[in-house]
């Protein structure tokens, strides 16, 4: 059986050099990309580039091909990483936006604790005045992170409470103001216009703000994520993505399609429901998990 094994190994070695095996490996990779929600078009384009590079660099087997893909995906994500806009004078204003139920409020709370751990003073604004008990939900996060909240009553005007929060953060010299907004579908024009209005309110009081507009996206999101990123960028001026619920089995491949098409960086990832379950984005770790390493 020893001879048979080594013969088998040798045959494998020979087959590995043929184009056929490379094509099968490429197809496997393409399928794993599609299964991660990267999208058919983006997956096809990435595989096409990989095929070219693989040929030029004389790739011999699936493992090498996978390394090449890993490097390529990482590059797509890293190219978009850039420093956060400079803050002329505190507070740095961070607005959380996104479709319903993605994790904006939870991420606001986690971020408040994250900045507090860096010895920054933080204030939060409960600008979701629409959804039932959204304000109470943020209040609990305020208690957990030891951060005060500016709020109004349910049904109040989100721009008005934002105005108050901006004034308060300025006069108290807070380092960071985190604004939790109501979830909204990007197709609802009046709700998107409300975000635009909030952004203009912010600019009126702090001209270089909001410094960050984070689109909070659920890692289970499929191809609709691209349209979300497109329309939230138009109305709210998104500057980065937070990818939540990466503690599940979804890979969040849509972030790669978004990085390629809309040039948006991923800033943070959410990996649970607890206060410490937030991490700055690490492209290497992300791509490894996406490719199932």
């Amino acid at each position: 059986s020893r001879t048979r094994e080594s013969l088998g190994e040798r045959i494998e070695g020979v087959i590995a050099l043929t184009r056929e095996v490379d094509e099968a490996a490429l197809e496997d990779l393409e399928m794993s990309l599609i299964a991660s929600d990267i999208g058919v078009t983006t997956a096809a384009e990435i595989i096409e580039r990989l095929r070219d590079r693989g040929k030029r660099q004389g790739i011999r087997n699936g493992a090498e091909l996978k390394d090449l893909l890993r490097e390529h995906l990482k590059q797509i994500l890293d190219e978009q990483q850039r420093p956060v806009a400079k803050v002329a004078a505190p507070p740095e204003v961070i607005m959380m936006v996104g479709v319903n139920g993605t994790g904006k409020t939870t991420t606001s709370g986690k971020l408040a604790a994250w900045y507090r751990a860096q010895a920054k003073t933080v204030l939060m604004c409960a600008a979701d005045t629409f959804r039932a008990a959204a304000i109470e939900q943020l209040e609990v996060w305020g208690e957990r992170s030891g951060v005060e909240i500016v709020r109004t009553k349910q049904g109040g005007d989100p721009s008005a409470v934002l105005f108050d929060a901006l004034q308060a953060a300025k006069s108290r010299h807070n380092d960071v103001l985190i604004v939790d907004t109501a979830g909204r579908l990007h197709t609802k024009n009046s709700l998107m216009a409300e975000l635009d209005k909030m952004r203009r309110t912010t600019q009126r009081i702090i001209p270089d703000a909001p410094h960050e507009v984070l689109l909070v996206m659920d890692a289970t999101t499929g191809q609709n994520g691209l349209q979300q990123a497109r329309l939230f960028t138009e109305s709210a001026g998104v500057t980065g993505i937070v990818l939540t619920k990466l503690d599940g089995t979804a890979k969040g491949g849509i972030a790669i399609a978004i990085a390629r098409e809309l040039k948006l960086p991923v800033r943070f990832v959410g990996v649970g429901e607890k206060i410490e379950d937030i991490l700055p984005f690490d492209s290497g770790a992300f791509v490894d998990s996406l490719l199932g390493n």
Binding site: E136, V140, W141, G222, Q223, G248, T249, A250
Partner: protein, 312 residues
């Protein structure tokens, strides 16, 4: 934006006009386009494979009719295949022979369980029922308060109970559920809607909790509440929820957006359970029974289907 499927198929069929038969070769490109369209609509990869096999089988050997173009003919096959998968029967609700009927809401975090609980209560009220709501989400901040506000807005009964001094955990969850059922009986409510905390299908503790709730309540309906924007992962979560709980139906939320909603096909495929309702907004009345035709039209690109189906 996207070229719709029939435009793509027209290109694929430019060489197949008038008379002829569909063969393996001449439908190859069309099948490729269908595959891409389904994947772009977020239908799961493996489900797409199965569907394409069925569609190929049905199409090959078919005479190209004169009444319909090859494109129309194939779209009709695809349409019928998807409708068959989704199930033609409109949603029906299981009521208990001895009230209260218990409805257990299940799903991932943020999918819309609490909102849908309220919608369901409003829908039942309109149908002459007396529902009672209870939230056993003792984990997420203000989750129980959220359901209370929702219940108040539709003037539905809610069992609040006392959670003070007891740590959040499965014993508390079970106690609240038991008390709520007793309360429903006492107050003459004929249905009890149990809103649960969002949980990941891989969280074994919380999935165990769900199984315990099921054992405790013997619900007539266990509804999996899923977000219409979900991508490829929908099969994994739905499959696991179904394995642990034996779901009886699906509610697809956030259908008021522009998501194609291919996840509906994926979830239906792995659970075998019908989509019973769709969520069309945040308000309690934004709730409709599910029509397979409509979502199929949406998955394949609007407009494609209706006019064609009228002629076929």
């Amino acid at each position: 934006m996207f070229e719709n499927l029939s435009e793509k198929l027209q290109r694929a069929f430019k060489n197949l006009r008038g008379q002829g038969t569909m063969t393996e070769e001449n439908i190859q490109e069309a099948l490729r386009e269908i595959r891409v369209a389904l994947l772009e609509a977020d239908v799961n990869l493996n489900v797409v494979k199965d569907l394409i096999d069925h569609i190929r089988e049905k199409a090959i050997g078919q005479e190209v009719m004169t009444a319909l173009s090859p494109t129309e003919q194939v779209i009709k096959i695809v349409h019928d295949e998807l409708v068959t998968l989704l199930g033609k029967d409109t949603a029906r609700f299981q009521f208990a022979s001895r009230p209260p009927t218990v409805i257990l809401m299940a799903g991932l975090q943020g999918s819309g369980k609490t909102t849908t609980s309220g919608k369901l209560a409003a829908w039942l009220q309109k149908g002459g029922h007396r529902p009672m709501l209870v939230s056993v989400d003792v984990y997420r901040p203000a989750a129980r308060e959220q359901l209370r506000v929702v219940a108040q807005s539709i003037k539905a009964n809610i069992y609040q109970g006392d959670t003070k001094g007891e740590p959040a955990g499965t014993p508390l969850v079970e106690r609240l559920a038991k008390e709520a059922r007793r309360e429903a009986v006492i107050t003459g409510c004929d249905t009890l809607i149990v809103d649960t905390a969002g949980r990941l299908h891989i969280d074994s503790d919380l999935m165990d909790e769900m199984a315990k709730l099921k054992a405790l309540l013997s619900p007539q309906e266990i509804l999996f509440v899923a977000d219409a924007m979900t991508g490829q992962d929908a099969v994994r979560s739905a499959e696991e929820f179904h394995r642990r709980l034996a779901l009886t139906g699906i509610v697809l939320t956030k259908m008021d957006g522009d998501a194609r909603g291919g996840a509906a096909l994926s979830i239906r495929h792995v659970t075998g359970q019908p989509v019973k309702f769709i969520g069309m907004g945040e308000k309690p009345d934004a709730f409709e029974p599910f029509h397979p035709d409509r979502i199929v039209g949406r998955i394949l690109g609007h407009g494609d289907i209706m006019s064609l189906m009228e002629r076929a």
